[in-house]
Amino acid sequence: MEYFSQQLINGLTLGSIYGLIAIGYTMVYGIIGMINFAHGEIYMIGAFIAMIVFAILGFVGIASVPMAVLIVLIVTVLFTGAYGWTVERLAYRPLRGSFRLAPLISAIGMSIFLQNYVQLIQGARVKAMEPMISGGFVLMERGGFQVTLSYLQIMIMGLTVILMVGFSQLIGRTVLGRAQRACEQDQTMAALLGINVDKIISLTFILGAGLAAVAGVMNTLYYGVIDFYIGFLVGLKAFTAAVLGGIGSLPGAMLGGVIIGLVEAFWSAYFTAEYKDVAAFSILVLVLIFRPTGLLGRPEVEKV
């Protein structure tokens, strides 16, 4: 029971990170119908920028932890957003109206490029950081086994919930959100009504990159270890989460992220850790075969 609770907490934390990245996949898919394969790398870049900013803040001498985390969050989101914008502008926008696999191939190229770019300028070796936020609550204790909920885990889950609520409001209530939903359904018509479709798409990429950046900050804080390769697997799992939840659906992405996080935590705990990635991929394959619309997605009716 204690072990189960601990894995539940760990899984939810992991799932929050996956969910935030999955939102980026789902929004981009919703609006231009492509898998932004480079999104995992955006998350990786976010994690790097976060660690760099932490290092700079440490150098400058900002001692207050909440202050430092806040600054890092804002700065990382801004700079990572620039990467999101650039990727769309260079690799995807020129391909609108090209044949259907072109954007995906371009995205794969972008992903390889970004990975190696970071490897070249930051080196291939692992980067590490001292844990900044330690401590937490002991929820249960029996027979020497403690179930802890660390402050960091609370922060990650809390921030995820706040962002999730904020985002739903943004998409559901604001002018920008309405324009975005309109572009999702019919770009031509949206353009005819005076919506700058290119701008909305760019904004979608920036927002998605911003959320991935937050996930990157969380990763840096939570694990404290990063390298240029972390985006690949995490990106794939976040994409799995987006598909599982129903691609195009924001709550679906979050739900999918949490499920993938839990599956991974429990799989590692009760089966073999070596095969936890296989478990995540198997979920992807099974969902796509048996329920391609995901848990909360709308079915696509083929138009002939």
């Binding site: 920028i49 760099i52 700079i56 972008m110 070796r125």
Partner: protein, 709 residues
């Protein structure tokens, strides 16, 4: 009047260009500042280093580059015509044969040249492995349009199959090679079967997942695969029992002993070189030949339009599976060669990056182009190997090239496509035929629809609809917009599955309940053909090829599912000639002979409509369903269409089911009209009866007191 017809070039707007370049430089600053300007220490600690010059260089390069790009684009924007690359290609085209022979001679003789050293032979071997893999993936991605990101998995299966068979059972390379191909192919079919129904981009991700899963299993199944250490001491290949080793075992003869020459390591390398050359040649000949067979044509058709393929009776899953499986077999061959060349294997040779490199070769070369793969493999494999200092930029280059090619030339460097069959120059020994259906004398109608109901959520698109269509009749389904006409068609042709109802096709081939059949079977066995409201041709295939795809089933059987075709047996050649002759009949009737070898997508709207009708007729249907064939046609074209349709009815005796808004046309040629409104039938009768029917008038014109009943 002056002779000059050049348009005055407007001067470049320097201010705007500077502003754009400034913005680009600003973004470059944002990108470079944290990530390039600071370098984190390896391992841990907070002693980062700063690199201000990196940021400055990045910003300046982007600023200057953006300016240069703007100037280049400004100068280019006036000139028209083909780019420099296309001009070089077309200049080389007449010499392509000489170039090809010269290139082949060079490749074949390379190891025997005096200047050929170990490294050169080894590099040649490496490049050819990638060429072979590229050709294999080209079938999957270039022809069939299935983006396979886990291609390396089949390569791995081939390599491990050979290794395990050779190490554990002592089988020789030549015994293992077919087995390795077989295992990889089986693996491909097993993996492909559940996932090939998925849409293109989902398929890509799933295959990527499969590739990773295979690698994880190879790492963790240590008992069998040796884990991440892999397996070493894999035996090399032998030449008719002659080993390439300085010290052969008891009872064995080594190559150098047999020929009484001193032992040299390069002998083995040269032998390997010729093995992969032979494998690559076989792959090439196979690819070139299969592309011209019905299955190859079906792959390309599927890439162009899967929905249209289903309407022509092609089974998409089976066709995709064949492409997937054949690609896997070729990767399996390449994999077992890789294992025997290396002498050791481990999972790190089979990462996603490997799949990405092979994909980059296919994409860069031009999807579907055999020569393109050679060029791309030479550039992408040779360049980083030759410029060792440059090696760390290799993957950066791969990624950049993939993006650049998609932006600049999305179809790849070499994009020319040879039609798989040409009407002009085809020697037709036989005259074509069309089917003639005996005049319907029986009591059963050709198509009987009973109580058809179809709902989308809360909307009832078709409400308890019953009607019949007879052979030898033109039956028109009319009704206001949104009456459910196209939905009726989509139910009949299997694109939708109705909620309630029975749809029965009855002809001398048998009785078919359409609501129980897969979409492709409705065309293939129930013999119902259709056209689409928004034309769905295979745009990058010629008109004749479009008509040949429609005869796929017949040609597949005649070619013994490609075997007879691959062997070039006369059985297939005759069948193909008959199919071309049959297609030619429709080309003549529809006045399309002149454009037969033109890409369908380049033709005008009215011509494309005719091609679609011809293509549907080439499936030899008993019922032809036409979805607004006159939409967008001018009065003359509509007149011609009327003649075509009445001719089809009178000469072949098949039934025609027609949705049309052009009332003049409907009244002119229909034998029988069904009027729909809000998904229900409101009238049924001859044109004269319909014209006078008050319910029809009400539905079209509305009532004076407003609203529908």
């Amino acid at each position: 009047m002056t002779a000059s017809n050049a348009i005055e070039k407007p001067p470049i707007n320097l201010g705007a260009t500077l502003k754009e370049a400034g913005i680009a430089a600003l973004i470059a600053l944002a990108l470079a500042l944290p990530l390039a300007g600071f370098r984190l220490p390896d391992g841990g600690g907070s002693a980062f280093t700063t690199r201000p010059w990196w940021v400055v260089v990045a910003v300046v390069v982007v600023f200057v580059g953006r300016m240069a790009f703007a100037l280049w684009r400004h100068n280019r924007s006036i000139s028209h015509g083909a780019g420099i690359f296309d001009r070089i290609l077309s200049a080389l085209a007449p010499y392509s044969r000489i170039i090809f022979i010269g290139f082949f001679a060079l490749v074949a003789l390379l190891p025997l040249m005096p200047f050929a050293d170990r490294r050169m032979v080894d590099l040649g071997t490496l490049v050819m492995i990638y060429i072979m893999l590229g050709w294999g993936l080209n079938i999957v991605v270039g022809l069939a349009g299935l983006l396979d990101l886990g291609y390396v998995a089949f390569y791995a299966v081939g390599a491990y199959s050979y290794t395990l068979l050779a190490v554990n059972f002592g089988l020789s390379f030549w015994q293992c090679l077919p087995l390795a191909g077989l295992f990889a192919g089986l693996f491909g079919v097993l993996l492909g079967f559940p996932v090939l129904r998925l849409r293109g981009d989902y398929l890509a991700i799933v295959t990527l997942g499969f590739g990773e899963m295979v690698r994880i299993i190879l790492i963790n199944w240590s008992d069998l695969t040796g884990g991440s250490e892999g397996i070493t001491a894999i035996p090399g290949p032998s030449l008719m029992g002659l080993k390439f080793t300085p010290t052969p075992g008891a009872g064995e003869t080594a190559f150098h002993q047999f020929f009484s020459i001193p032992f040299a390591g390069i002998h083995k390398l040269i032998f390997l070189y010729y093995i992969i050359l032979a494998l690559a040649l076989v792959t090439h000949l196979f690819s070139v030949r299969i592309r011209r067979l019905p299955v190859g044509r079906a792959w390309e058709a599927l890439r162009e339009d899967e929905t249209a393929c289903r309407s022509l009776g092609l089974n998409p899953v089976l066709i995709k599976l064949s492409a997937f499986g054949i690609g896997a077999v070729l990767a399996g061959f390449a994999g077992s060669f890789f294992a025997t060349r290396q002498g050791f294997i481990n999972p790190s040779s089979f990462t996603f990056i490997e799949s990405a490199i092979i994909l980059a070769i296919v994409v860069l070369g031009g999807m579907g182009s055999q020569v393109g793969v050679i060029c791309a493999a030479l550039v992408l494999i040779l360049l980083p190997e030759l410029a060792r200092d440059f090696a760390e930029f290799r993957m950066l280059l791969f990624g950049g090239v993939m993006v650049a090619i998609m932006v600049w030339r999305p179809r790849g460097l070499l994009v020319t496509r040879d039609p798989s069959v040409m009407l002009h120059g085809f020697d037709l020994p036989v005259a074509g035929t069309t089917q003639v259906v005996p005049k319907n004398s029986g009591t059963n109608p050709l198509l009987q629809i009973e109580h058809l109901t179809m709902r989308f959520g809360g909307l009832t698109a078709i409400d308890d609809l019953s009607f019949a269509a007879r052979a030898g009749d033109i039956t028109a389904v009319i009704g206001p917009n949104g009456a459910g006409k196209t939905t009726v068609f989509n139910c009949i042709t299997g694109f939708y599955r109705p909620d309630v109802g029975r749809m029965c096709m009855d002809h001398d081939g048998g009785v078919f309940l359409l609501e129980r059949m897969e979409g492709y079977q409705i065309s293939a066995t129930a013999r119902v053909a259709r056209t689409f409201q928004n034309i769905r041709l295979f745009p990058r295939m010629t008109v004749l090829e479009n008509l040949m795809v429609a005869q796929h089933g017949k040609l597949m059987r005649a070619s013994w599912y490609s075997f007879a075709g691959l062997l070039g047996l006369s059985r297939f050649k005759n069948a193909e000639a008959r199919a071309v002759a049959d297609a030619k009949i429709w080309l003549e009737r529809l006045d399309l002979v002149d454009v037969a070898d033109t890409e369908a997508g380049t033709l005008s709207y009215g011509v494309q409509r005719k091609i679609e009708i011809g293509r549907a007729m080439c499936t030899r249907p008993r019922l032809l369903c036409l979805d607004e064939p006159a939409a967008g046609l001018n009065p003359n074209e509509t007149q011609a269409l009327n003649k075509i349709l009445t001719d089809i009815r009178d000469q072949t005796g098949i039934g025609i089911l027609l949705i049309e808004h052009d009332m003049a046309m409907v009244m002119d040629i229909s034998d029988h009209i069904i009027v729909l409104d809000h998904g229900a039938r409101i009238a049924d009768g001859t044109p004269d009866e319909i014209r006078k029917n008050p319910a029809v008038i009400r539905a079209y014109l509305g009532e004076e007191d407003g609203g529908h009943s």
